[in-house]
């Protein structure tokens, strides 16, 4: 039993799909108590309308010009004011770039505890408990939080099947915000990586140094496009200049948690595994039958990625 507040990110005028996983899980954990979605932005009219179907009993929107881009101080203040008003037992956000940056600030304003990047949430003896990875995922630990508990949740941690549709009534909240938080997003540039956010992607095809060139990554992109997958890279490929750092999966790159991870021409160094070890299904494609990646994969194909990946693309294209 817990009243749960869920911070739902908005991008391009729509609620991001990460919210469905969080709201669905919140409904399970709330056990009959309230699930409230919170949206922040500068133009939210109609944006929160579908959230009842994802399990929100209520949707609180905070609309202000300063919330038009991610200004952490403004977001933290706005979300804190809603938390202070609603007094939930638990506050959830996705462990996305924004979520991981934002939630500790809100928890601090509330003088509350926050645990980041949890991969599980459940009812414990004294409230909701979580499990989080430590040491780049080599160890898992239980976290319990006294009083109001803030958690950021690693994307794709929960498979949410049935959600009971709720009212999802939208309520506007007037937050007291400054015009200036000493922080201005001047512009957003394309940095050359995939447009699908790797850390949130449910399907990923990654390439290693065997791709031999930046141009060859197009082979992976082509296959990825057929199944809506994001494209990642190993550190070796990035260091060789075949892919930008934003595409790097691994200990010094991104941590990913997809249902499907296809590693093409990646040997499987510990540092790479650290970034994708929680993937539900791992497929390895490598010319070298002794590549360590095969020890960590669900399915393996010993073969040349330049032959296998185009074949995969063909098969993907034939899926209905």
């Amino acid at each position: 039993m817990a009243d749960i507040l869920v911070f739902c990110e908005v991008a391009d005028g729509a609620v991001k799909k990460s919210a469905r996983e969080l709201l669905g899980k919140a409904q399970q954990l709330s056990d009959g108590d309230d699930v409230t979605a919170v949206l922040l932005g500068d133009s939210l009219s109609g944006v929160g309308d579908g959230l009842g179907a994802w399990g929100a009993d209520k949707v609180v929107t905070v609309e202000a010009d300063v919330l038009g881009s991610y200004v952490p101080g403004a977001y933290a203040s706005a979300l804190f004011q809603v938390v202070d008003d609603e007094q939930p037992d638990v506050v959830l956000a996705s462990a996305s770039v924004i979520g991981k940056d934002l939630l500790p600030r809100v928890a601090a304003l509330a003088e509350a505890g926050c645990a980041s990047d949890v991969v599980d949430l459940r009812e414990g003896d004294d409230g909701i408990e979580g499990t989080r990875p430590l040491y780049a995922g080599k160890v898992l630990a239980n976290v319990s939080i006294e009083d109001t508990a803030f958690f950021t949740v690693r994307p794709n941690s929960f498979v949410i099947e049935d959600i009971e549709e709720k009212d999802g009534d939208v309520e506007e909240f007037e937050a007291e915000l400054e015009d200036d938080y000493g922080y201005e997003v001047v512009s957003v540039e394309s940095s050359g990586g995939d447009t699908i956010d790797l850390a949130e992607a449910d399907r990923i095809i990654s390439g290693g140094r065997s791709l031999k060139s930046a141009e060859n990554f197009a082979i992976l992109q082509s296959a990825a496009d057929k199944i809506g997958a994001a494209v990642g890279a190993s550190r070796a490929a990035v260091d060789a200049g075949y892919a930008p750092h934003s595409m790097q999966v691994g200990q010094t790159g991104k941590t990913v948690n997809p249902s499907l991870y296809i590693a093409a021409g990646i040997s499987g160094a510990i540092q790479h595994l650290a970034g994708m070890r929680t993937s539900k299904v791992i497929v390895a494609v490598n010319k070298d039958p002794d590549a360590p990646i095969f020890q960590h994969s669900t399915y393996g194909i010993v073969g040349d990625l330049f032959e296998v990946v185009p074949m995969l693309e063909q098969e993907f294209a034939n899926l209905d």
Binding site: A108, A115, P133, L134, V139, S190, Q271, Q295
Partner: protein, 259 residues
């Protein structure tokens, strides 16, 4: 400028992690301790700012007594002095407690600009720098990959996923957390290492700072350490390559149900 750097001592990334008897930490016997790799970018950036505008670089580190060794590495790189928070009273602090102590110490030392690494590679919490900024009421820009200062105005870049980079303008005083690619951290020279031994080190106990820290004040308890469940042995497919690929996709759809 009085420039501060938040620095954490962590186990080397190659360390074989063994869970301790109480399952509330790891065995520390064989660990090689290092400066948190992301903090090296922070120290380097602080030194570059000092070179540009003058001032002092102060290292702040909260941890066990051995954390002084990590701070000395930064002193050897060129930082001027260290503030070490190693009193037993800090033990068991959660991120909020740690941040309270560091923020107060930075305030006591008159810091005007703070750098930190984007995350510590032991707990991967990604919390303390944001909380420090929140407590100081300073803006915090996280995971920056470039830094340009013009008086009190700083322009930084941050990668925000989805192949996008934000260009952000921040007013000082502020906190910046460093991502890989921000700069190339310099190596400590031998003269630097020698000089580091006699650079000033100051300590503050929790009572000196007047902050709520330690296990008693912590809201977050982390225990029950366990290993991730082992992945069951996988399957290497066989046969003609084209047949293998067809079989794979069938398995992904029907057996694994991920397509």
């Amino acid at each position: 400028m009085n420039i501060g750097v938040l620095l954490k001592q962590v186990p080397d990334t190659e360390t074989r992690i063994k869970i301790n008897g109480d399952a509330d930490g790891i065995e520390e016997g064989d660990i090689k301790w290092i400066v948190n790799p992301y903090d090296e970018f922070a120290v380097e950036q602080a030194l570059q700012v000092k070179a540009a505008v003058g001032g002092e670089v102060v290292i702040f580190s909260l941890g066990a007594a051995r954390t002084l060794d990590a701070a000395r590495t930064a002193l050897a790189m060129g930082a001027d002095r260290a503030v070490i928070l190693d009193d037993d009273g800090y033990a068991g602090s959660d991120s909020l407690g740690v941040a309270r102590a560091l923020a107060k110490a930075a305030q006591e030392e008159g810091i005007e600009l703070l750098f930190a690494g984007k995350q510590a590679i032991d707990d991967d919490a990604v919390q303390v720098p944001q909380i420090v900024g929140t407590l100081l009421e300073w803006p915090v820009a996280t995971a920056i990959t470039s830094y340009e200062q013009d008086g009190d105005s700083v322009t930084v870049k941050r990668e925000v996923g989805g192949g996008q980079t934000e260009v952000v303008k921040v007013s000082l005083p502020a906190v910046f957390t460093a991502d890989k690619g921000l700069n190339s951290p310099r190596y400590a020279s031998l003269p630097g290492i020698m000089k580091a031994k006699s650079k000033p080190v100051k300590r503050y106990a929790p009572g000196d700072l007047g902050v709520d820290v330690g296990a008693d004040e912590a809201k977050v308890t982390t225990n029950g350490y366990h290993l991730p469940p082992p992945r069951p042995a996988g399957r290497i497919l066989e046969g003609e390559l084209s047949d293998q690929v067809a079989e794979l996709v069938k398995l992904l759809r029907q057996e694994a149900k991920v397509l």
